[in-house]
Symmetry: C2
Subunit: 199 residues, 2 copies
DNA sequence: GTCTATAAATGGATAGAC
DNA sequence: GTCTATCCATTTATAGAC
C-alpha cells in the first residue's frame, strides 16, 4: 500500500514530506529555536533553497510539523456498553497510545506554544478535539453517572504527566529506543490516574 | 529584613542576583535558546560586557538560574502521626506548593534538560532530593502499609501534570497573574491523584 | 525542482577605556 | 565594576543558474 502511494506521489510531494518528517524529529529532540534550517535541509538531503521553496518561513514549517495528520487514532468501540470502570480504563489507555504514537507532535505543541503564540491555535485544536470515548464520558458526567470534572484540564494533566515520564527516561538513557509505551510508565500512570496509591 | 540584607550585600552581588533573576524569568517565558544575552542584559539594566564578567558563558548563567536556592521548602511536621490518607494528602499538597513557588526553575529544568545535557545533573539533584514526607512514604511502602510504586516516576508525573496545567492556563490567557495555585488546577490535580474520578 | 552562492541581520563573546 | 565599540561565527532567507 505504501508502494502504491509512493508511486502515485509526485517527487515534490515526497520531498516536502521528507522535510516535514526531518524537521519534526529535530524540533522534538532539540527544540524549535535550537534547530537551524541548515541542519534540517542537510538531514533531509536537500539544500536550504529547496526548503524555502516549500515553506515560506521556518515558522510555516513548524506549523506543518504539528498538523494533526497522525492525531486521529481512535477505535470505534461501543462505548455505551461499557461500565464506568471499563470506560475510564479504555479512555485512559487510548489517550496514552494516542499521545505515545504522536509524541513528537504533542511534545512540540506543549513545549513551544507558550514561546510561539502562532502555535496556540494548533494546541487548542488538538486538545479540544473530542474522541468517541471523550463524548461518552461527558455524556455520563451530564447524566450524573460520573463526578463532574474539568475533562480538558484533566486530560492536559495526563498528557503532561505522560510526556514528563517519557522525558525522564530519556534523560537517564538518551540512547533508549522507545518502540512501545514502556510498561513501568504505563503502570505508574494508570496507578496515578486510578488512585491506586490512595488505598 | 530585606533592608538589612541589601545593606550588607556588595554591589556586585546585587548585580549578579539581578542578572540571574532576570535571566530565569526570560528562560522560563521564552526558553533558553530564544533568549539572547542582549535582552537579558538590557532587562537587568547592565551591559552585555558586565554580564560576561559574572558568567563566563550563557550556559553558566543557565545553570545558575536553576540552582536549588529556593527549592527546599518543606515543613517539619510529625509525619509519623498521620494516617496513610492524611500523609498522602499532605505530601501531594506540599509537592504542589513547592513546584508552584519554584515553577520557573522546575519548568526550565524539565524543558531544557533533554536539549542541554549540561542540565541533567541539576535535574537529577532536584528530582531525587527527598523531603521528610517522601521518606515517610518510602518507609510505609517498605513496611507494606502502602502499595509499592516507583515514587520518583510517580512524582515526575505529578510535576509534569501540574506544569502542563499551568501552561494550559497561560496559553488561554497570557496576561494572567498567578499569585497562588489556581483552585481549579489544585482541585483537578488532587482529583486526578486521588482517583476521585474512578468511583 | 534543485542547486550554488550570497545577502542581511543577529548571535555570543571580548578588548580596552573610564 | 561597568561601559562602548567591535569581532567573528552563525542564522534566516533569497537571487539566479542549471
Amino acid at each position: 500500500m505504501t508502494e502504491v502511494q509512493s508511486v502515485k506521489k509526485k517527487k515534490g510531494t515526497l520531498t516536502k514530506e521528507k522535510i516535514i518528517k526531518t524537521a519534526r524529529n529535530l524540533f522534538y529532540k532539540k527544540g524549535y529555536d535550537a534547530t537551524t534550517t541548515a541542519i534540517i535541509a542537510k538531514e533531509a538531503g536537500v539544500s536550504e533553497a529547496t526548503l524555502y521553496k516549500y515553506f515560506k518561513s521556518k515558522m510555516t514549517l513548524l506549523l506543518s510539523t504539528v498538523e494533526p495528520e497522525c492525531i486521529p487514532f481512535m477505535e470505534n468501540k461501543n462505548y455505551q456498553l461499557l461500565t464506568n470502570q471499563e470506560l475510564l480504563s479504555v479512555w485512559t489507555n487510548e489517550l496514552i497510545d494516542k499521545v505515545f504514537y504522536n509524541r513528537p507532535q504533542y511534545s512540540i505543541i506543549f513545549n513551544e506554544s507558550t514561546k510561539h503564540p502562532e502555535l496556540s491555535e494548533q494546541y487548542i485544536a488538538n486538545i479540544y478535539s473530542m474522541s468517541n470515548a471523550d463524548l461518552e464520558l461527558v455524556n455520563r458526567m451530564d447524566k450524573g453517572d460520573l463526578p463532574k470534572i474539568d475533562l480538558i484540564l484533566f486530560q492536559v494533566g495526563i498528557i503532561g504527566s505522560f510526556l514528563a515520564m517519557i522525558t525522564h527516561m530519556q534523560i537517564y538513557d538518551p540512547t533508549i529506543k522507545l518502540e512501545k509505551v514502556p510498561p513501568n510508565i504505563r503502570n505508574t500512570l494508570i496507578c496515578l490516574i486510578e488512585g491506586k496509591f490512595f488505598v
